[in-house]
């Protein structure tokens, strides 16, 4: 379709708005780094609606913009590692086939946390963060599931948008 650029802009701004909404929710599970990952909802939808390279571009643009606006140097590195690993995992599973939107999103949530954990290990030069693995896996799975269910419902209603 000819309005690719416009769609890309809308997706980018939606992802940014979701990042902002996320900062407004005072979630504190007592564990650093656990959050809902609302912006991931847009990425999941983009995965089904856009070309894969555009989805990657969207993910990078979102992380950079939201990092500069709401975060800092550290949060950009984290989000980038998490976001790209998560998107890679989701894209591979989607290509493999046989997974529903929920399954793809769960993998995305889990790998997002794994990516961040790896960066955390490199930054603080310790393996003790590895003991967060069970909590982060579980958290990634639950948030991924929630995001997946919402994304599934949205995709049902966005059938008319195809490009």
């Amino acid at each position: 379709m000819k309005s690719r650029v416009a769609y890309f802009g809308i997706f980018t701004s939606l992802a940014l708005i979701f990042s902002y909404v996320e900062t407004l929710i005072p979630v504190n599970f007592g564990i650093p780094g656990v959050k809902l990952g609302l912006a991931n909802l847009i990425i999941v939808i983009a995965l089904y609606k856009m070309k894969i390279e555009e989805t990657f571009l969207l993910s990078i643009v979102r992380v950079l913009l939201s990092g500069f606006i709401f975060g800092n140097y550290f949060s950009i590195i984290y989000s980038l590692a998490g976001g790209l690993l998560s998107l890679t995992a989701m894209a591979l599973l989607k290509r493999a086939g046989g997974f529903s939107v929920m399954g793809i999103s769960i993998a995305g949530g889990v790998f997002h946390n794994i990516g961040q954990l790896v960066v955390a290990m490199l930054v603080v030069e310790t393996f003790s963060v590895i003991y967060y693995v069970p909590v982060l896996l579980l958290a990634g799975m639950l948030t991924g599931l929630v995001i997946g269910i919402v994304a599934n419902e949205m995709l049902k209603r966005l059938i008319s948008i195809i490009w």
Binding site: S100, I106, E125, T126, Y131
Partner: protein, 123 residues
């Protein structure tokens, strides 16, 4: 793609849950007993080792972070970073538990008195 769960989704969930259970078991096996001191590392270098049994307040990094030890638990009470993640974190007391402040590159790790097998292997 707009249908409900598929078989592979459930397999994925089961695999993740198995990994979670496995890591929890490993954690319970390695840690948990004889935790009695905290090691404070900055940038990967050990800056101090403190006993968990005596109540004290420790300034880390010339005061960027404040660690409080009371009732055998270590808790980060102050940090100058904007996210305050380490401050919000629950106090730690079990062996191998840790509080991490990424902006200041601080790791507070609970350690047992005896050298664990884990260390013996890495050394």
């Amino acid at each position: 793609m707009t249908k409900g769960f598929k078989k592979r989704d459930l397999i994925l969930i089961v695999v993740i849950l198995c990994i979670v259970a496995l890591t929890v078991l490993i954690h319970a096996y390695i840690g948990g007993v004889g935790a009695n001191k905290v090691i404070i590392k900055v940038n990967g270098a050990i800056q101090g080792v403190y006993s968990l049994s005596e109540d004290q307040e420790i300034k880390i990094n010339e005061g960027t972070n404040l660690l409080k030890i009371s009732n055998g638990k270590a808790d980060m009470v102050e940090a100058d970073c904007p996210d305050q993640l380490c401050v919000h974190q629950k106090p730690v007391s079990m062996s191998r538990e840790s509080i991490i402040c990424l902006p200041n590159r601080i790791v507070v790790e609970v350690e047992s008195k005896e050298e664990s097998e884990y260390d013996a292997v890495t050394n």
